[in-house]
């Protein structure tokens, strides 16, 4: 009896320690360790210019990952984000060429994103097909549409002023980082400070309980896909703006980075658990690893292994303490 009591207290101590590590504090710690490590390894790393550069590099991943956070919170997945970004980018570029109106071009890109997101949601929620399958199919369809539309060639010769969003600066701050910051704040507000956020989280935690708590489950599941589509579209517009050219092959493999950021940020693929703040940390960790390894000259091939391993280890620690 005595023995077991002793064991219990010890367990609860180590449990508390891991619990702290498991939350956002743990992610923050990882980020700090990475920042210190790269600062020691490269003299260029910890400069305001490079740090601002990192925020610019992660901005697009972060924007799309915030949309993905919505979808993952409801217990679904959206694999179509990368293709959708390319399609929205092409839409924006084509509209810009046709109308010479930046405003209309952006509107068209966002509308394309939302439209495809809506179809994803419709097929998942009302067609009752698993979102993995719906969005996997959409990954192919959207990419194909972008390729067919452009004949596989990029749409270039866009008006110079359009490059502001992806490549411009507001003072010292990259415009795309600023946009990502705004999206982050809106996402944070929406999920934490409105009933909509609470409902979306509830649906992922227990769909039946959500239904019996009088939450309009279908509507909110659809909204999650809409948000993801919209933000994928925004991501695609920023890529186009940065390159001043819409590549039908843009954003290939983007879904992996985005999902990795969300999962690294503490979200559970089964839904209900995850925060926008965690997603920010996840995206930052991935961004810092990419940037730091580039600076210290790690080969691009080797980088993939390191990144994969870090994601695995982080998730492993989290999973083994969440029981």
């Amino acid at each position: 009896m005595n023995h077991s009591t002793h064991k219990n207290t010890k367990d609860s101590h180590s449990h508390r320690f891991f619990k702290l590590l498991r939350g956002e504090f743990g992610l923050f710690l990882i980020l700090v360790v990475l920042l210190i490590t790269f600062s020691l390894l490269s003299p260029f790393f910890f400069s305001s210019r490079n740090l601002l550069n990192i925020t610019r590099q992660i901005s697009i991943t972060l924007i799309v990952a915030i949309g993905m956070t919505f979808v993952i919170l409801t217990g679904e997945i959206d694999l179509s984000v990368g293709s959708l970004a390319a399609l929205a980018g092409v839409t924006t570029a084509a509209t810009l060429v046709a109308t010479q109106s930046i405003f209309l071009a952006i509107l068209a890109g966002l509308a394309m994103g939302m439209g495809v997101g809506f179809i994803n949601g419709l097929l998942t929620v009302y067609g009752r097909v698993q979102s993995f399958i719906v969005t996997l199919a959409m990954l192919g369809v959207a990419r194909g549409m972008a390729l067919v539309w452009t004949g596989g060639r990029p749409i270039s010769q866009l008006s110079e002023s359009f490059s502001f969003f992806g490549a411009g600066y507001v003072g010292p701050i990259p415009a795309s980082s600023l946009i990502a910051g705004i999206v982050f704040c809106v996402g944070l507000f929406f999920l934490n400070q409105t009933k909509h956020g609470v409902y979306i989280r509830s649906i992922g935690a227990n769909r039946e309980a959500a239904r019996l708590s009088a939450i309009p489950v279908k509507k909110y599941r659809l909204i999650a896909f809409l948000v993801s589509g919209l933000l994928s579209g925004l991501g695609g517009i920023l890529i186009t703006s940065r390159l001043l050219s819409a590549q039908p092959t843009a954003g290939e493999g983007m879904e992996l980075n985005v999902i990795a950021a969300v999962i690294l940020g503490g979200a559970s693929l089964s839904g209900g658990i995850g925060t926008v703040f965690g997603t920010l940390l996840g995206a930052m960790i991935i961004g810092v690893i990419d940037n730091g390894m580039n600076l210290i000259g790690v080969s691009a091939f080797f980088q993939q292994i390191v990144k994969g391993a870090i994601i695995l280890i982080a998730v492993l620690i989290k999973r083994n303490n969440s029981q």
């Binding site: 934490n192 009933k195 609470v198 509830s202 935690a205 309980a209 019996l212 009088a214 309009p216």
Partner: protein, 499 residues
């Protein structure tokens, strides 16, 4: 001859709930032994200990006179104990033969190649032995529920099970299928398979069983031979003593107050028959019935959670239609579902999330939630529910069953519904928590809420409600005044003794 199975002083505790206390039980060879008791009496716990799902806290188990410990379900099967649960464990996409021999297929050679012909022949033998006219190559999703149950029994026999536990085996079966099942049970008795039969249908017990053991509040309340047994004796032993403390009751005025809800020939897709009744302001109306009576279906339908509603519903004398829980909520209906973990709670989320989720609109201004107000509301509800520990940031799964149930109830607290539907609000909670829940319900009724209490605990219905309606196989029987009846009478009616 040794008994097939002897249990001596088995006890089991879950957190604050003592599920089994010193239970003695003997299964003789070649008998069908019924295990009876109300919900929460400890039947499923006992079964789960036998099959190794739970471990007993103390006590002794003898299998054919050998002391044994069952460590897990695989071990139980290895020792010849097999259970047929209400939820089937068949693989729908495999065929009948594959299911019967799942996990111990006849194999040959280095690669353990399945000998399909042997498999089919053996399966055919089993099916013929029990005169089941199914082709062993039929995929399981193509056969009916009754036949699935029988396939499940074959599966147990194929591993040479000596002791078979049948948990409500006739649920959802047609009369013809039940006949076949009973034929098989008779057959098995001769082939030296010893059976424990759990059922709420007493007529089945009288028809097929040799002896009966009644569990009540986790104790053995008596073992009787079926021959010469009176229904009265059985019912009396199933119902325990009163809840002790007198529960606060409302005066006779209840039926004088306004009708809040009236239903005429109301029926949803999942209900067996249309029902008509009224619910008054400030009363607690009990609707009781055994498993399969349709009481949970009635609750879900009333909350708009069940499709295809027929008949008429009047709220405050105005005819209404609602097709979703959201519409029902707007009409002032609150609902507490039967299955706490599956339907009631967001287990991984915090107490304050769970407790405020239906009242969020009271916490927002211009669409913005006040987190401070939310915390304050959660805390005040938690306090009035006497939640222990009083920590609203904890995830709900870390709390005890009683506290979890209080949270499910409490989430409608601030909503102040006009009509509150409660389905088994005290399932799986200890006596103390039960009493608090009853007080809470009465308090709501006194504040003018019309409460519809759906429960299969007859004692609860008798002592808590102002009026009682009995459901039997989807039929709403006549109204009972709890002051002019006994719990035994209510139970007899619910068990079909009225006919």
């Amino acid at each position: 001859m040794h008994p097939a199975l002897v249990l001596k002083r088995i006890s089991k505790r879950f957190g604050g709930v003592q599920a089994l206390i010193d239970v003695d039980f003997t299964l003789e060879q070649g008998e069908v032994h019924a295990l009876l008791g109300e919900n929460g009496a400890g039947k499923s716990t006992l079964i789960k200990i036998l099959t190794g799902v739970h471990q007993k806290d103390y006590g002794e188990m003898l299998l054919f006179n050998d002391p044994v410990t069952v460590t897990d379900p695989v071990d139980a099967r290895f020792k010849g104990i097999a259970a047929i649960y209400q939820e089937l464990s068949l693989v729908e996409s495999l065929n009948v033969a594959q299911n019967i021999f799942l996990g111990h297929e006849p194999v040959k050679g280095f690669f353990h190649r399945v000998q399909k012909n042997v498999l089919l022949t053996k399966a055919r033998e089993y099916l013929e032995r029990f005169k089941i006219p199914i082709d062993p190559k039929t995929p399981v999703w193509d056969i009916g529920l009754g036949q699935k149950k029988i396939i499940e029994i074959m599966k147990a026999l194929s591993i040479q099970a000596k002791i078979l536990l049948l948990d409500e085996p006739t649920t959802g079966m047609s009369r013809a299928e039940i006949e076949t099942l009973f034929q098989i049970i008779q057959d098995l008795k001769k082939k030296n398979v010893h059976m424990i039969y759990i059922s709420h249908h007493l007529e089945e017990v009288f028809e097929i069983c040799d002896r009966v053991t009644v569990l009540r509040d986790g104790k053995n309340a008596g073992t009787f031979p079926v021959q010469g047994l009176k229904m009265d004796t059985l019912v009396k032993s199933m119902i325990g003593t009163s809840l002790g403390e007198e529960l606060p009751k409302k005066g006779d005025a209840s039926t004088d107050s306004a009708v809040v809800l009236r239903m005429e020939k109301f029926r949803s897709q999942n209900m067996q028959k249309p029902v008509s009744f009224q619910l008054h302001r400030g009363e607690i109306l009990g609707v009781t019935g055994i498993i399969g009576s349709g009481k949970s279906e009635l609750g879900l339908a009333l909350f708009g959670a069940d499709p295809k509603i027929q008949g008429k519903v009047f709220v405050d004398a105005r005819e209404v239609r609602f097709g979703s829980p959201l519409e029902a909520k707007k009409m002032g209906i609150g609902f507490i579902p039967e299955d706490r973990k599956g339907q009631g709670l967001f287990l991984g989320l915090s107490v304050d999330h769970n407790i405020t989720v239906v009242a969020l609109h009271q916490l927002e201004r211009f669409g913005v939630l006040s987190l401070r107000k939310k915390k304050r509301m959660a805390l005040s509800i938690a306090q009035s529910l006497k939640l222990n520990p009083l920590r609203i940031e904890l995830p709900v799964h870390s709390l005890s069953g009683g506290n979890q149930q209080k949270i499910v109830l409490g989430k409608w607290f601030y909503r102040r519904p006009k009509i509150l539907i409660l389905d088994e609000p005290t399932r799986g909670v200890d006596v103390g928590a039960k009493r608090e829940i009853y007080r809470l319900i009465r308090k709501w009724a006194d504040q003018g809420v019309a409460v519809l209490l759906l429960s299969s605990e007859f004692k609860e219905v008798h002592e808590v409600c102002d009026r009682i309606l009995v459901l039997y196989r989807g039929d709403l029987l006549k109204e009972i005044d709890p002051k002019r009846t006994t719990t035994e009478k209510i139970m007899s009616m619910a068990l079909g003794e009225h006919v």
